[in-house]
Amino acid sequence: MKRATLYAINEARRDKRAVVRAVDLASGEERLIDIASAGASPLERAAINAARTDKSGSFEDDGRNWFLAVYSPPLDLAIVGAAHIAQVLSQTAWLAGYGVRIIDPRTAFATAERFPNVAISHDWPDEALAKAPLGMRSALVALTHDPKIDDPALQTALRSSCFYIGALGSKKTHAGRLARLKAAGFSDSELARIHGPIGLNIGARSPAEIAISILAEMTIRLRTDGEWEHRAARTTA
């Protein structure tokens, strides 16, 4: 690898741009492909596909054996509501490689002491998410139970390409939430993106166990094509 290629990959990571490095395994010859501006050659198309599935792998083209190494932007978790569950979830998600941000306009909840390693915003969710939008590598988890705070966050998430949306609350709370969002103009298929009650049904009781069930459900959405979905009954957390 050329020194300049290493620097360019690290710069792309900092700028949250997806890049794929193709390297010829016989000669070491390399090409760095910026996914946003990649063209239509077979190698570039393979790179785009590798980036979309976030999967590095081999690719043969014209008798040459390339390895496509995917460098995806970091994962992003926006937690709305600085609740007790959020304290544990922010730490477990951080360990799993997410950049974590807490959004809560209630300043007494979201403090640096309660949330180390985490970016804290005291803006309202729709404002915070306008400043730093959700993308394909983003998950949004709404934990306040308060429609004033959760609903604007969920509406913004539903209009984004984020891979996971979850909302804490009982079946009854969730039914009320869906009715409000429907009245706001969202269709049933759009609303099906919201995981509620949140988390996989692992019998979670404590905040830490609920955080694990949420992170497990996020992982299914991120890493599988949903084949787990029908097996994954919901908690009533």
Binding site: L6, V23, L25, S56, S58, F67, A69, V70
Partner: protein, 107 residues
């Protein structure tokens, strides 16, 4: 440690005037612990960051990386239980791994 930290570490080592080589998992079969794309950065003195296995083959990869820094050539390594030498370095998980080793060069 995740891949980006490995490359950040490689950049820091280069900036401090050291030589560096990279090892990348390019193919796995069976129960390999690290997926394709996993990387290790190796410094000329043998210090390393990241991983390409559960610790079974790192020693052999580091040695090969140091050779690649000396001669400037890339290398393709293969480890698996079917291979006597590979068994001696201890890929006890029963998997099979291919590693691409390359020096970081200025050109």
């Amino acid at each position: 440690m995740d891949t980006d930290d490995v490359l950040d570490t490689a950049q820091q080592w280069l900036a401090s005037g050291r030589k560096v080589a990279l090892g990348t998992v390019v193919k796995t079969w069976g129960s390999a612990p690290r997926q394709a794309g996993s990387q290790i950065a190796v410094r000329d003195d043998g210090a390393f960051a990241g991983s390409v296995s559960g610790g079974c083959i790192e020693g052999a990869v580091i040695e090969s990386a140091q050779e690649s820094m000396r001669d400037g050539m890339v290398r393709n390594l293969e480890f698996g239980v079917s291979d006597e030498t590979a068994w001696s370095v201890g890929l006890a998980c029963g998997g099979h791994i291919e590693i691409f080793v390359e020096p970081l060069i200025d050109a």
